[in-house]
């Protein structure tokens, strides 16, 4: 499987489209898989919001079809399943494949001048493990007693057979394990490819920041996915074989039993690196897109890389801020608070580098650029509200309220999602050989940007007002009834956000088959992947390129007045 040897061009239909070992085909498989699941997760979110705004009212349009027994009304068990599967799907089956799977598989080989991933068969297995995980998750919706109903975090003892008796929870654990396995295979593949297959001249400091983001994500993947893998193994042992790792002996009955808090530690040791796994590729893409479309070198390339590396290293040490109210010891609580404050520093550095890249640039406000700047705004909001959650003084009140929901949606859902949209709009021409319509793209951006910010900012208000999360119906508790208007406002803006996504779906489908044929380098960008023809041949590079300058050599005075960019393979004049 040496990289120089080009594996033969696939001939049969199966080898070419289904079990392909070509990183480009696998990237498209991941993209379609991720987008479909993002759609399903999005519909679930809208059903959740409908139930919160109109408790007990049948869900319009698809309610009668999905919940025939209760005549379209979502009952508490269905509601718990909806927000659990919404979380699991959006994180594991939506963002991970769409961003790390699709973006990673497409960009890494092409942007570092390699012919393919270093272990192509492992790459194919990674997609089919993810597919299997998705299949198990989908099947678990049909199991008697329904799918998992204990939150995407799956805290025992609710997730053990004490709280969730059906098989749905076991299948959820197996699905997460399989998706984890897929991420580990992918991670191993990405790291080895980046280390071993960079073309001559592509030093570490000449790699595009997107590749840096994906490389660091893979490191986190490889190191921390096994932690939740083991946590899931133990959970399945507890549920199926009756061990008592997480099932405690009650205070009154004595006897020995496990410790449910152990699962929380294990989950969040994986959990926080997971949120950085989801944000690092988006950071990488945003750094690059800002530089590409501001026609200006990314400000402080080395400091950005340094910031991302520091975030990767620190990400394992800060998980405690998810558990401030579980009864950590004072020393542990305060140290986690300090560490979480410290990890916000590299994020700020990266943030200011973005702003500096824009400053005095020559902005081309294409759709990818709009999405990249959208990420700046949204990640600014999300990141800054992180301070409330990191400080125990405020977190004691705000923990498990809608404030936290708003925070992690802004950082994880909004920034990562906008980063993914930006990447799709940017690499669509090279991937499918056609241009996505700019007009629809801009419409999609503006129509989803404002409702998105509105939805999650109202959540800050309801969180501050003390509205706990994961409530089926806020009108039953006396204290929460006056907050129902916030629920309704959130639902209205969530529906607007949901409707706006159809523009993207239409644009994506239309452009995929009927879009304008794309030139070889529509955005005038110099990275190596734009030096090859569209559609990209099976072997990527006829001859392995030799890189002579960095990815962001824009408006370099040396280039003379007529052009402001240069391919990485060209020599900087003078």
């Amino acid at each position: 499987m040496s990289s120089d040897h080009i594996h033969p061009e696939p001939t049969t239909f199966l080898r070419k489209h289904v079990f392909s070992i070509d990183h480009k085909v696998i990237a498209k498989q991941f993209l379609w898989f991720g987008l479909i699941w993002l759609g399903i997760g999005g519909i679930m979110a809208m059903m959740l919001r409908w139930q919160l705004a109109n408790p007990g009212v049948p869900v319009p349009l698809i309610g009668g079809l999905l919940f025939p027994r209760t005549g379209g009304v979502i009952d508490p068990a269905t509601y718990n399943t909806l927000f659990t599967m919404h979380g699991t799907i959006m994180i594991f089956l939506g963002l991970t494949p769409a961003m790390i799977g699709a973006l990673g598989n497409w960009c890494i080989p092409l942007m570092i001048g390699a012919r393919d991933m270093i272990f192509p068969t492992l790459n194919m297995l990674s997609f089919w493990a993810m597919f299997l995980g998705g299949a198990v998750g989908f099947y678990s919706l049909f199991v008697p007693l329904g799918a998992t109903e204990v939150g995407w975090t799956g805290y025992p003892t609710l997730s053990t057979t004490v709280g969730a008796v059906g098989q749905g929870e076991t299948l959820w654990a197996i699905a997460v394990f399989l998706i984890g396995a897929s991420s580990i295979m992918g991670g191993i593949n990405y790291i080895t490819t980046v280390i071993r297959l960079r073309c001559p001249g592509m030093t570490w400091m000449r790699m595009p920041l997107t590749v840096w983001g994906l490389f660091l994500t893979s490191i986190l993947n490889v190191l921390f996915i096994p932690v939740i893998g083991s946590a899931m193994i133990i959970l399945v042992l507890d549920r199926v074989f009756g061990t008592s790792f997480y099932v405690p002996a009650s205070i009154m009955s004595g006897g020995t039993g496990g410790d449910p808090i152990l699962y929380q530690h294990l989950f969040w040791i994986f959990g926080h690196p997971e949120v950085y796994i989801l944000i690092l590729p988006a950071w990488g893409v945003v750094c690059d897109l800002l530089s590409f479309f501001a026609r200006k070198p990314a400000f402080g390339y080395r400091t950005s890389v340094g910031a991302m590396v520091v975030v990767t290293v620190l990400s394992a040490l800060v998980y405690g801020h998810h558990m401030f109210t579980t009864g950590l010891s004072a020393m542990l609580g305060e140290s986690f608070m300090l560490l979480t404050m410290i990890i916000s520093v590299p994020a700020e550095i990266l943030f200011f580098n973005w702003l500096h890249t824009l400053w005095k640039g020559s902005l081309r406000l294409t759709t990818p650029m709009l999405f990249a700047m959208g990420v700046i705004f949204v990640f600014g909001l999300g990141g800054l509200t992180g301070i409330y959650c990191a400080t125990i003084g405020t977190d004691i009140f705000l923990h498990d309220t809608y404030f936290i929901v708003g925070h992690f949606h802004l950082t994880m859902a909004a920034s990562a999602l906008f980063g993914t949209f930006g990447a799709i709009y940017f690499w669509f021409p090279k991937m499918f050989g056609r241009m996505m319509s700019e007009r629809l793209g801009k419409l999609h951006f503006w129509l989803s940007f404002f409702p998105l910010v509105l939805v999650f900012c109202i959540m800050f208000i309801s969180g501050y007002a003390g509205m706990p999360r994961r409530y089926y119906d806020h009108t039953s508790a006396e204290y929460l009834r006056p907050l129902q208007h916030l629920n309704v406002a959130t639902t209205v803006s969530a529906f607007l956000l949901g409707v706006a996504q159809f523009i993207f779906v239409f644009n994506f489908i239309k452009s995929r088959w009927w879009g304008k044929t794309a030139p070889q380098n529509p955005w005038d960008v110099g990275t190596v992947d734009w030096t090859i023809a569209t559609p990209v041949p099976h072997y990527n590079f006829k001859t392995i390129p030799v890189v002579r300058c960095g990815p962001h050599e824009f408006s370099n005075p040396v280039l003379g007045p007529d052009t402001d960019w240069i391919y990485q393979t060209e020599e900087l004049p003078g």
């Binding site: 080009i6 191993i188 297959l197 133990i234 790792f245 020995t256 410790d259 030799v546």
Partner: protein
């Protein structure tokens, strides 16, 4: 960093006979395997962390008054597994020496002994379980048994996978796919087998020694 500048394309015809491994390919394969072992170390590290955390919840370790897996059998199992690792390693090394086909014969002999010892370990492990079950202690009867059965089951699954890889490597070498010039799979299988051995060592120390 591949150093060759321009590489001519091979003809587009299908490449049937796998070309011999270059030095770079072996490094790639080993780097991939090391990353996998690193990741699985985190997995078993988590299991061991849980083992340590849950051990404190049991006042007396090993808990008195209930049937315990017998330490001598576990000790024997550890020795058997260690021996098996040694043979597997010598088998894998015998391929890399620059000798003719004579070496291949000694590879099979060493490799098969390593495999049989591995099988012996599996039997001893099963015997440990059976003793406990005969004494009526299954994984549902308490935290100690949960820990013992839970962790040893997960480890046993990896022993089975390890044995399967050893068999695959042996069959591959018989079919000529693996040999002195294509030995990355064999060395990876050996590496994984050693990893499984080290994990058992930690388990043995945790349950039987400290």
């Amino acid at each position: 960093m591949n150093t060759t500048g321009v590489i001519e394309l091979h003809g587009d015809g299908p490449v049937n006979q796998a070309p011999p491994e270059t030095g770079r390919d072996r490094v790639n394969a080993t780097l991939g395997m090391i990353l996998f072992i690193g990741s699985w170390t985190m997995a078993f590290g988590t299991l061991f962390l849980s083992f340590l955390v849950l051990r404190d919840k049991i006042a007396v370790w090993p808990p008195a008054g209930i049937a315990l897996p017998s330490a001598p059998i576990a000790g024997l199992a550890t020795l058997v597994l260690a021996a098996s690792s040694v043979f597997v390693e010598r088998g894998s090394r015998s391929l890399s020496l620059d000798a003719g086909s004579g070496r291949k014969a000694s590879f099979s002999a060493l490799w098969i002994t390593g495999m049989l010892l591995g099988l012996g370990f599996a039997l001893l492990q099963a015997w440990l379980w059976y003793d406990l079950i005969l004494a009526g202690r299954t994984q549902t009867s308490g935290l100690y048994e949960s820990l013992f059965f839970g962790l040893t089951w997960v480890h046993a699954a990896h022993v089975v996978v390890g044995l399967f890889l050893l068999v695959w490597a042996l069959v591959g070498s018989k079919l000529g796919r693996y040999g002195p010039e294509r030995r990355s799979f064999v060395s990876n299988a050996a590496l994984f087998w050693h990893f499984v051995g080290i994990v058992w060592l930690f388990l043995f120390l945790g349950f039987f020694v400290f």
